[in-house]
């Protein structure tokens, strides 16, 4: 097994980034216009990177699949963004944010990266305020903070329940300014179809114009992927419909390593599945668990309405199993227990895949007005989607996939093992280890885009120089040929099952075996089932054409090919990691309280997988993780 070098700079933790910035080469402002950079994705990471690099003078080409860069899925983030400002004077610091993030990630992230993230978190807030992001404020006019996701300090900045939207619109404004200046060429409604690599260096991409179906070659001196996460492998997730793995998956097939693919976060308070036609799950703030009590009927298959089930026929399973934390156990524990109840036939609602979250007691105790003030908007949202009044009958909730900690492997410079290929935001594996803390995803996306890549890209280009491989070269022609033949192949199958139908089937396998709780037998079953589904796809899928006009179904078919491959790799990775950590729970390594038991002796490392060909098993590379500043400890929620 080969080991990977994260290229972590030397010196004390707190000085690494500053020293590294001094050691890296710079590109003279007048010379930056000689260099071109491709950025794929316009969420927080991609928009921030595009704007910042263009401001510095690089020629940037930016791509997004949506009709506008403002629509990337970062926009849906609700809660907030962390920073170590210590404005609340409650003992926060860069060091504390660093320690919390390393521990929260259950010791599966790189210390040096996480420390840098905490360092630049403060610059992010300053930048966003200067851009006109309307953060919540106190009466005196200073920025407001709240405690979020169980943090013991108030370090979360927020703009109502729309923090992601406001941060993204800030970055989008900066990007728009550079588009107007001609420093960014924007390609909306374009999907990356392939990464072009030659001589072990990323040379550009093949993009498909989704409106007319044309394949375009784009060369550059460096390629930055900021294409988000892959929760949609589960079919039903809280991700937007267009979220997909295809950009990073094509990079993986061109030799980039995929790190910790099995690390996914499943959020307990999503709205449940209510219709057989459901395409999407909606998240509700987990603050609801502060006052709601989770229960299911004691008897399986009890289909009576909630209010007809008496107190002694109800099972408040979290309160019973975890007397001290009760309904406030961490996300992964709450999610797992809900699924276990549903698997035992005690699930409620039309599909039997939901548990109750009951506010009756809280309303009796505090009055309806108090509960409405705290959760009114969430109750309204619930009423609109579920058509039920949570003041009168208990809410129904169910866990949903919403963030993936895994992604392409990158070194300290956010460069993958392919030189010139950088990966930012949720698309890389980086800073969250095996579990992401609330309000940390926005922080990471913007840190990577505004404050890391401007330095490390210059460091790379200063050494590597220009690419000098034009769009007329064989490497680009081969890639266009590959993308073209894939589309033709899809349209030629003309079988009997729709893309959605097959994706739903994959999602069910992922949810059952590669979701909240995993075991050896289940993972082996999943691998076999996915292979069968893949075979079925290539024989029996029916894809709508023609390819020369906007056709979402054709786009989704291409993305499903990659989800099928990814699903198998996630199962392989989960099978290989014979420990539990963070959101990855192997039932073979679970304490009696349902807690993850890590195996630091054998698995204190990043698992990175290298593609070996269509039929071959992927090769495993590891990057050992050293914890020199935070002591390895086991979580407990007794």
């Amino acid at each position: 097994m080969q080991t990977l070098d994260g290229k972590i700079p030397g010196g004390p933790l707190a000085e690494k980034w500053d020293r590294h910035k001094m050691d890296m080469k710079l590109i003279n402002p007048a010379n930056r216009r000689q260099f071109s950079v491709i950025v794929v994705g316009t969420g927080l990471a991609g928009a921030a990177a595009s704007a910042s690099l263009a401001e510095m003078g690089y020629n940037v080409k930016t791509f997004c699949i949506q009709d506008s860069p403002r629509r990337a899925h970062s926009i849906a983030a609700q809660g907030g963004i962390n920073a170590a400002k210590n404005y609340a004077n409650d003992g926060d610091s860069i060091w504390r944010l660093f320690v919390d993030t390393v521990k929260g990630g259950d010791f599966r992230a790189r210390e040096a990266n996480v420390y840098r993230l905490a360092q630049v978190s403060n610059n992010i807030i300053d930048q966003c305020v200067a851009q006109g992001v309307p953060f919540a404020r106190e009466y005196g006019g200073l920025l407001a903070n709240r405690s979020f996701g169980g943090a013991q300090v108030s370090r979360t900045f927020y703009a109502r329940g729309q923090t992601g939207q406001q941060l993204l619109l800030g970055a989008y404004g900066a990007l728009s300014r550079q588009i107007a200046a001609g420093q960014v060429q924007m390609f909306s409604r374009h999907e990356m179809m392939d990464l072009v690599v030659s001589g072990d260096r990323a040379r550009g991409i093949i993009a498909r114009n989704l409106v007319n179906g044309e394949l375009e070659a784009h060369a550059a001196d460096a390629v930055i992927l900021a294409t988000g996460g892959y929760s949609n492998v589960f079919y039903l997730s809280t991700n937007a419909i267009s979220c997909n793995v295809s950009a990073i998956w094509q990079a993986y097939k061109k030799g980039a390593y995929f790190a910790n693919p099995c690390f996914t976060q499943i959020h307990p308070t999503s709205l449940p599945h209510v219709s057989g036609h459901q395409t999407k799950l909606t998240l509700m703030s987990e603050s609801l668990r502060n006052d709601g009590r989770v229960w299911v009927p004691k008897n399986a298959e009890d289909k009576r309405p909630a209010n007809d089930i008496s107190e002694n026929e109800r099972d408040y399973f979290l309160e019973e199993k975890y007397p001290s934390f009760g309904n406030l156990v961490p996300r992964d524990v709450a999610s797992r227990n809900a699924k276990q109840q549903c698997d035992a036939g005690k699930g409620v609602g039309p599909t039997g895949r939901a548990v109750y979250l009951d506010f009756t007691q809280a309303i009796k105790r505090d009055g309806k007005a108090v509960i409405a003030r705290k959760y009114g908007n969430l109750f309204d949202m619930y009423r609109n989607i579920i058509d039920d009044d949570p003041y009168e009958t208990p809410m129904m909730i169910y866990p949903a996939a919403h963030f993936t900690m895994g992604g392409l492997w990158v070194d300290y410079n956010l460069m993958s093992n392919i030189s010139g290929l950088f990966v930012l935001g949720e698309a890389n594996f980086s800073d969250h280890g095996a579990n992401r803390l609330g309000a940390s995803a926005l922080m990471q996306g913007l840190a990577d885009g505004y404050f890391v890549i401007p330095y490390t890209l210059a460091g790379y280009l200063g050494d590597a120089g220009k690419s000098e491989i034009g769009e007329d070269q064989a490497a680009f022609k081969d890639s266009i040929q590959f993308a073209q033949s894939r589309i033709e192949k899809l349209l030629a199958i003309n079988g009997k099952r729709t893309v959605e139908d097959i994706h739903r089937q994959l999602g069910r396998v992922m949810e059952d075996h590669v979701g909240l709780a995993r075991d050896e037998a289940g993972l082996k079953t999943a691998i076999q089932r996915i292979q069968e589904i893949r075979a079925e796809f290539w024989e029996n899928v029916k894809v709508a054409g023609p390819a020369n006009r906007y056709r979402l179904n054709l786009q989704k078919a291409g993305r499903l090919i990659d989800f099928l491959d990814l699903g198998e790799l996630m199962a392989i990775d989960a099978l290989n990691r014979k420990e539990s950590c963070g959101g990855h729970l192997r039932t073979e390594a679970e304490s009696e309280e349902g807690e993850a038991i890590r195996d630091d002796e054998n698995f204190c490392h990043v698992s990175a997988w290298g593609y070996q060909g269509e039929e071959a098993q992927p090769a495993l590379f590891v990057e050992p993780l050293a914890f020199e500043n935070v002591k390895l400890t086991q979580r407990s929620y007794k």
């Binding site: 704007a51 506008s68 926009i75 006109g132 309307p134 404020r137 404004g173 267009s242 209510v274 219709s275």
Partner: protein, 259 residues
């Protein structure tokens, strides 16, 4: 929640193959629609059937399906995003309709929006308006501490009301003049309210208005339907603030570059 039901409906849906095609309504019966599905899920369900019948699926823009990304937007029975108050069409549910209903589904219509395919339109003119000045010109790095400039809470809250705009373009589709005034004023107002945005306030309002005109949007004659159509309930008081900003800029400001 109410009982699981299915209804049968008839869609009169706009079909158009690209901007050059003249387009036409097609009548399609849809049976067994789950009332708990959303309007877009009903279209997905129909599209799956169409595909299996070797017919072309209906194209429509959509993405987050929770009312925040601003991608979706179609006319349902003549109303942008349908008749639900304060919601996008992705948040509209089929339980709002009755068995036997005929539902008319069309793209957003405005001179500035070209139809791409069926119910999808090209809203890139809205992008151009933002590019003309819908930002505060600060480069990355060098920003002062976030608390260096206090902002009155009520101003900040009002700026947030304006910033809630999702850029879906329903205001344009609802307006008899196909004006983008609510969209433009929301951005102008957000930055006019914040001290950070004052430095460029004059050029911003003049540039954005000039671009709105150049893109072929009409002007505002106070019909106020935009406010009713807005899924985020952005208020027309922002248009009033826009007008004040415009007046100030016209008297004291510089014209945009190139004038």
């Amino acid at each position: 929640m109410s009982e699981h039901e299915t209804i049968n409906i008839t869609l009169k849906v706009w079909r158009q193959n690209g901007p050059e095609d003249s387009g036409r309504f097609e009548t399609i019966p849809v049976a067994d629609v789950d009332t708990h599905s959303s309007f877009l899920e009903m279209l997905d369900f129909l599209n799956e059937k169409l595909i299996l019948e070797d017919k072309e699926p209906i194209e429509f823009d959509n993405d987050c399906r929770e009312g925040i990304c601003g991608t979706c937007g179609i006319m349902v029975n003549g109303i942008p995003h349908g008749h639900g108050k304060g919601m996008t069409v992705c948040q509209l549910h089929m339980r709002e309709f009755d068995d036997g209903d005929t539902i008319v589904v069309e793209p957003f219509r405005a001179r500035a929006y070209k139809v791409i395919q069926d119910l999808m339109v090209d809203r890139s003119p809205l992008e151009k308006i933002i590019q003309a000045g819908g930002y505060i010109s600060v480069n990355t790095g060098g920003a002062p501490d976030g608390n260096a400039v206090p902002v009155a809470q009520e101003k900040s809250e009002e700026a947030m009301d304006a910033a809630a705009c999702i850029g879906c373009g329903a205001c344009v589709a609802s307006c008899p003049n196909a004006s983008a005034m609510l969209f433009v004023s929301a951005k102008v107002s957000q930055f006019a309210l914040l001290p950070q945005g004052r430095a460029e306030a004059n050029t911003r309002v003049l540039s954005m208005l000039q671009e709105m005109d150049a893109c072929g949007f009409g002007n505002c004659t106070n019909h106020r339907v935009c406010e009713a159509a807005c899924p985020k309930e952005v208020s027309i008081t922002h248009i009033a603030r826009f007008n004040r900003e415009f007046l100030k800029a016209s008297l004291f400001g510089r014209m945009p570059m190139g004038e």
